[in-house]
């Protein structure tokens, strides 16, 4: 079934050249709705109890290139499953929101959108490293096309920067991942665990293998992986491609970018980097936390002085994902659950905000808050949605953003050895704690400041439109107006647009009030990752007190995961592996 989720959109994309321009939209809609339907069936109708899942389901393993150790291996657990559902949900929404915005080269547009959809599902479903990496990288191409062909004025520069920046990062990550595969193939006694000592790219095997890499080497590997994945997140200071890409991308591009593509980074860190290199994660936790907090607070302030509304929301993504990373690098179950939930919530609320902005842009063709304001007067329905999603984004309790933000901050707050030393009942091991969180919460105020700035300028205040005219649909000014059919839009949202936004709004509310099932579902993954990380803490502690690492050959005895006692390999010093 996962195969269907990946390939239905791709097949639909392949069928596009056969159709006329008008049918393309409907095909694209079908090509995204059918997977969504299948996804819902998998969620509810297959008798899978997601809340007590202890491993992958819907696994599928097709031999691919056995001589190279490649298999086409798919599977989902609760974490990747929920992210796949988010992807599937955003699919039809992206198609729907493009109906009036994209009027020329529709075949190219919907084709690449569908391919992107398949690739993104592939990343979350992949259980083989090479497959994962291919899908991970393959998302770049459709996105690049969407930005450079269908973006606004500065689209080429934005597209190229997006591509090169994230691609460069990924290459570095690839080096790290290949090292891990090489390590497994050459340094580990065959038979230590399934797949040990042979060339394989099976993720589960590589996780077990990588954990036996000495802490010093893990530091380097983790750095490599983080360089690749953190660009995607994006973590301060690797974020500068994002505002540009977001501003220039078409609405659907922004939605996918904010909703799913950024989550590829956080997901890769959560599902690959941390469980593979727990000792590296422990060593990097304070660094990442500091960067995350800088992102949350400082980039939040940067949001405040933006005049381009799309840029503001784009920067706010950097700030929000700062919280997500802070929670993740608390390295305790609270933080992990908060971070995973944050991925979903950010996809919903920020994606929805981009949709709202896109709808406004289609009517007024400006993103400048200096030119536009007080739209509540003209577009009350739109204004209601904007205020709602702004509140979800600012973390108002009762809506989704709050739960994840609170969990991330609480996780970071708990993660301090000083709590444990002081006999506090709620502490977990870690190096963050009250000082980190005390600074991070300032970001909550900053978040309120810039979000209300956006709402105060765009939605409220005296009515201000770019040309001072009353035409809600001045399509004559559209960049693509020269050719192509015009879709006349009413002053306020039409039914299609409301249908686009409603599911997101409903989910924001539902996840805000009933997050418990999801939190239960993430429990296994979070607890397991926590155990893995805790095993590694001892190793790091030894490294930090400069205790001699026992010289063990490649023939060391890596025991069973996840209880693997990390054991060094002969070289001891990290440089040797480089």
């Amino acid at each position: 079934m996962l195969l269907a989720l990946i390939f239905i959109p791709i097949v639909a994309a392949a069928l596009i050249p056969l159709l006329g321009k008008r049918q393309v939209f409907w095909l694209a809609l079908a090509g995204t709705l059918v997977p969504l339907g299948i996804g819902l069936v998998m969620l509810l109708g297959m008798g899978v109890d997601w809340r007590s899942l202890t491993g992958d389901v819907f696994t599928r393993s097709i031999p691919w290139m056995p001589e190279l150790g490649l298999t086409f291996k798919l599977g989902v657990d609760a974490v990747s499953g929920s992210l796949i559902l988010l992807t599937l949900l955003l699919g039809p929404i992206c198609v729907l929101c493009s109906k009036s915005a994209i009027t020329e080269r529709v075949r190219t547009y919907y084709g690449w959108l569908l391919v992107l959809q398949g690739a993104m599902v592939g990343v979350f479903a992949a259980r083989d490293l090479v497959l994962f990496y291919i899908a991970f990288e393959f998302t770049l191409i459709p996105m690049f096309v969407l930005i450079t062909l269908f973006g606004s004025t500065n689209r080429r520069a934005a597209g190229i920067k997006f591509f090169l920046y994230t691609f460069t990062g990924s290459i570095i990550a690839l080096a790290g991942l290949v090292y891990i595969a090489w390590f497994n193939a050459t340094k580990i006694q065959p038979g230590a665990f399934a797949g040990a000592g042979a060339w394989t790219f099976d993720l589960a095997t590589l996780q077990s293998a990588a954990r036996t890499i000495p802490a010093g080497t893990q530091w380097w590997l983790f750095l490599a992986l983080m360089l690749g994945f953190a660009v995607k997140v994006p973590l301060f200071p690797l974020h500068t491609w994002l505002p540009l890409a977001h501003t220039e991308a078409p609405t659907a591009g922004s939605v996918v970018l904010a909703g799913v593509l950024l989550k590829l980074g956080t997901y890769a860190i959560y599902a690959l980097a941390i469980p593979m290199l727990p000792a590296g994660a422990v060593q990097f936790a304070p660094v990442v936390a500091v960067l995350a907090i800088i992102g949350f607070v400082a980039i939040g302030l940067v949001c405040w002085v933006q005049t381009d509304v799309k840029k503001l929301v784009a920067y706010s993504s950097v700030a929000h994902l700062g919280v997500c990373m802070l929670g993740m690098f608390a390295l305790n179950p609270t933080g992990f659950k908060g971070a995973v939930l944050y991925m979903l919530n950010h996809g919903l609320s920020t994606g929805a905000l981009f949709l709202c902005i896109g709808m406004m842009y289609e009517r007024y063709h400006t993103r400048s808050m200096l030119e536009i304001g007080g739209l509540a007067k003209k577009m009350p329905v739109w204004a209601t949605f904007v205020v709602f999603f702004a509140m979800a984004s600012v973390g108002l309790p009762g809506l989704n953003g709050f739960v994840s933000e609170f969990l991330c901050l609480l996780g970071a707050w708990q993660a301090s050895d000083t709590w444990l030393a002081g006999g506090f009942v709620g502490g977990t091991p870690g190096v963050l704690g009250p000082v980190y969180v005390g600074i991070a919460v300032v970001g909550m105020v900053v978040g309120a400041i810039y979000t209300l700035q956006l709402v105060g300028k765009m939605v409220f205040g005296p009515l201000k439109t770019p040309h001072g005219d009353d035409h809600g649909h001045g399509h004559a000014h559209a960049p693509h107006a020269a050719a192509g059919e015009h879709v006349s839009l009413p002053t306020d949202l039409n039914a299609r647009e409301i249908i686009t936004l409603l599911p997101l709004a409903a989910l924001c509310l539902a996840l805000g009030l009933f997050p418990k099932p999801l939190l239960q579902a993430f429990d296994y993954s979070a607890q397991r990752t926590y155990l893995i990380v805790n095993e590694a803490r001892e190793q790091v502690r030894l490294l930090q007190v400069d205790a001699p690492i026992p010289p063990l050959g490649p023939a060391s005895t890596p025991s069973d995961p996840p209880g693997a006692r990390p054991s060094g390999t002969g070289q001891g010093k990290p440089e040797v592996h480089q």
């Binding site: 090169l164 500068t240 002081g422 969180v437 209300l452 409220f460 205040g461 418990k516 607890q527």
Partner: protein, 743 residues
């Protein structure tokens, strides 16, 4: 239909009197419990599930208002439906109260609705924040006046907002219903995260309602300011919740109190040094939250600006209910505060100073609604001072009486504003009470004013006196008592300054213009009839000349509500002899714990004043102070005043002090200059750094390959010589390296 509603509301509004008799039963129970620690018993109650109606009905009203907006309803239906729901919620609250009383003193319920944020944070260790309700007498006290007042004020608003029938009307009642829901969550939640939900929820509603006239930049700015300043307070609450969780492993009240008790005992024995800073620190964090929400120094600045909202909102949210959430928080968390050595001292003094500062500002303002706003800040200061000097009873009682009389005052001011096209300047209105149809407004205003001024034997007098006496009797707080007494004098003065200038004296007025007025789009000088406020098109109302203006007297809804609230304000005094509030507070966690041997409820053995019992003496002193204040106002603003604008007060020149007070001591400007501007500057710098340094480095990195390429490109010229030279260099280099290696 209308008559039916009036009757219903009248029946419901008699609640405070009716419930007093219930309180008598509770009093006996209290006497029986007596002693050092009240026995608190949990009654586990699936049977009490109906209490969900208290938050549920307002939520229903909000949902229906949204539906009305979607269906483009252009009648008063959403208002009447809201009134019905809120009245229903009030009825359920009364029932809840009576049922709880039957459980005996110290009974409390935890009613579980559904699981909210529950998760396993380590195997076997749960974080629990259910959507559950915690009902004890303190909850009842708060919910009684919240739902009761909300129902009345919704009825008032049905007329007041009638100029905006349609989408705006629905929006108003949506936020109104949501507010009462949030307030119910805040007060009734069984854990701190539920409280946080309500805490931010009321903040959101406050934001939406302050910014109701969203086309006015001032309203938008005020709404934003309120939300952001409140958020600063919310940080304190969020951190406090996390600290409580890490320390005690739970944030549910029922599980928290036994864990805190040990520290309270230590504190009572004076061993503060044995209480870890982490426990004492919780109180400081909570203080930040309380000061933000309840507009205390230094976070009070949002409340006066919040008057940009429609007046019913100012009355309900920014006077009676939401702003008392800080008092509720501290009262609810009293054990935590008692376990902290300096927290209550800070609360007391900040409260006292806020009271004084706000009163001085109120004296110099001309906008009557702003005077009331500063007076609210000032009275909240009294409540905090009461909490700080360990009379949570006095504080809660003052919350209770203040809710009624301040709502009355605001609604009376609102009626004036409504009738005079947004006029709020006390120099431009005079003798309103004597005009035709304004009698009830005038009477209600008088009732509100005597209560606020603390004229003897009014409710406001009793509640204020309780705080003053306690402050005077409490060791080390005598200077605070004097500050508060002085503030009481100022209060009496500025209260009656408004009354004497606006409501009595020669009849004269100057209508406001809707541009100046707070009611945007409500400058309809022709005045619509009382009961048929159809949606006018106000766009043409601008050009009306003063000559044609006829102030339109309030209609039945406004008059009914004013009369009801005036009666309730007077009747609230009855709660004093019956110990209504005292019994409620002392049977809840707000009860101030005393070292064994001392009496409960703050009636310790105090030294008297000049041989009189402390309370008796304080009655006399504060009564005299109130009369003195009113007298000064009478002389300066009534005696000999012939016109609206000029009075004896103009002869009093205080120079810079007056000017500074009129400009609110320039606190807003100070904040702007010291916080907002530097922050904005920092944001610009960061933005610059981000754009040119962080991104610049990236671009530089992108530029280097291109630069190298551009340097190398000329070598690929296609000329044979060049390649030959290159080849020669290459070969010789390889040769050299090979030589060196082999050597």
């Amino acid at each position: 239909m209308n008559r039916l509603l009036t009757g219903l509301v009248a029946a419901l509004a008699s609640g405070p009197i009716g419930s007093a008799s219930l309180a008598l039963a509770g009093q006996e129970g209290h006497a029986a419990a007596g002693g050092a620690a009240a026995v608190r018993t949990l009654q586990s109650v699936p049977a009490q599930l109906w209490v969900w109606l208290i938050p549920g009905l307002p939520m229903l009203a909000a949902v229906v208002a949204v539906l009305c907006a979607m269906l483009r309803v252009r009648s008063k239906f959403p208002a009447y439906f809201t009134v019905l729901c809120l009245a229903g919620a009030f009825g359920v609250t009364l029932w809840m109260f009576s049922q709880l009383q039957q459980g005996g003193p110290g009974a409390y319920w935890v009613v579980h609705l559904f699981d909210w944020i529950n998760f396993t944070w380590l195997p076997g260790k749960e974080f629990v924040a259910n959507f559950s309700l915690y009902i004890d007498p303190l909850t009842c006290l708060w919910m009684l006046f919240v739902t009761g007042l909300a129902a009345c004020i919704a009825l008032y608003a049905s007329e007041y907002m009638s100029h905006d029938l349609g989408a705006g009307y629905c929006r108003f009642f949506f936020a109104f219903g949501l507010f009462v829901f949030s307030m119910a969550c805040l007060v009734m939640g069984d854990n701190l995260l539920m409280l946080y939900l309500g805490w931010e929820g009321v903040g959101l509603c406050s934001y939406l309602l302050i910014g109701y006239f969203y086309q006015k930049p001032a309203a938008v700015a005020a709404a934003k300011k309120a939300f952001i300043v409140n958020r600063i307070g919310d940080l304190g609450l969020a951190l406090a919740i996390m600290l409580i969780f890490v320390k005690f492993g739970t944030i549910e009240y029922a599980k928290l109190w036994p864990l805190v008790q040990g520290y309270v005992d230590l504190a009572l024995a004076g061993h503060f040094d044995q209480i870890p800073m982490s426990v004492q620190g919780i109180a400081y964090l909570l203080i930040v939250a309380a000061f933000g929400k309840s507009a205390q120094l230094p976070l009070y600045v949002w409340l006066p600006d919040a008057m940009e909202g429609p007046t019913p909102v100012s009355a309900l949210i920014h006077a009676a209910t939401m702003v008392t959430a800080g008092v509720y928080l501290i009262a609810r968390m009293m054990p935590i505060f008692q376990a902290s050595e300096h927290a209550l001292w800070i609360v007391a003094w900040v409260g006292g100073l806020t009271a004084l500062l706000a009163a001085t500002i109120a004296m110099a303002q001309f906008d009557i609604k702003r005077i009331m706003a500063y007076s609210t800040v000032s009275q909240l200061g009294f409540m905090f001072a009461g909490l700080g000097v360990l009379t949570s009873t006095g504080a809660a009682f003052h919350v209770f009486t203040h809710a009624f009389f301040k709502a009355t005052l605001f609604l009376a001011c609102g009626a004036v504003m409504h009738g005079f096209a947004g006029q709020l300047d006390l120099r431009k209105l005079s003798g309103v009470a004597w005009m035709k149809g304004w009698g009830i407004v005038g009477a209600a205003m008088l009732v509100g004013c005597v209560n606020l001024a603390g004229l003897p034997f009014t409710a406001g007098f009793f509640s204020k006196d309780m705080i003053l006496a306690q402050a005077y009797g409490q060791e080390g707080f005598r200077p605070l008592a004097i500050v508060l007494l002085f503030t009481a004098l100022l209060t009496a003065y500025y209260t009656f300054r408004v009354f004497f200038r606006v409501f009595v004296g020669p009849k004269s007025f100057e209508p406001g213009d809707e541009v100046h007025g707070h009611d945007d789009g409500h400058g309809d000088a022709h005045g619509h009839g009382d009961d048929h406020g159809k949606g006018h098109d106000h766009s043409h109302a601008k050009g009306h000349a003063h000559g044609g203006f006829v102030p339109h007297a309030p209609g039945w809804a406004i008059n009914t509500v004013l009369a009801l609230l005036a009666v309730a304000s007077i009747a609230a005094a009855y709660a004093y002899p019956t110990h209504f509030v005292e019994n409620l507070v002392n049977n809840s966690t707000a009860r101030v714990a005393h070292a064994s041997g001392a009496h409960g409820g703050g009636h310790g053995e105090h030294e008297g004043i000049l041989g009189y019992d402390l309370h008796t003496a304080m009655y006399v002193i504060s009564g005299a102070v109130a009369v003195l204040g009113i007298g000064i106002a009478f002389v300066l603003h009534y005696a000999g005043r012939k016109t609206a604008a000029v009075s004896l007060a103009d002869a009093v020149k205080l120079g810079a002090i007056q000017r500074w007070a009129q400009h609110k001591w320039y606190v807003d400007e100070f904040y702007d200059f010291t916080i907002r501007l530097p922050l904005k500057f920092l944001a610009c710098v960061l933005s610059f750094i981000d754009k040119f340094l962080v991104d610049g480095l990236v671009n530089l990195a992108g530029f280097i390959p291109r630069w190298i390429g551009s340097r190398l490109r000329p070598t690929q010229s296609g000329e044979l010589h060049g390649y030959a030279v290159g080849m020669a260099i290459g070969i010789s280099t390889i040769g050299l390296v090979a030589l060196w290696v082999l050597w």
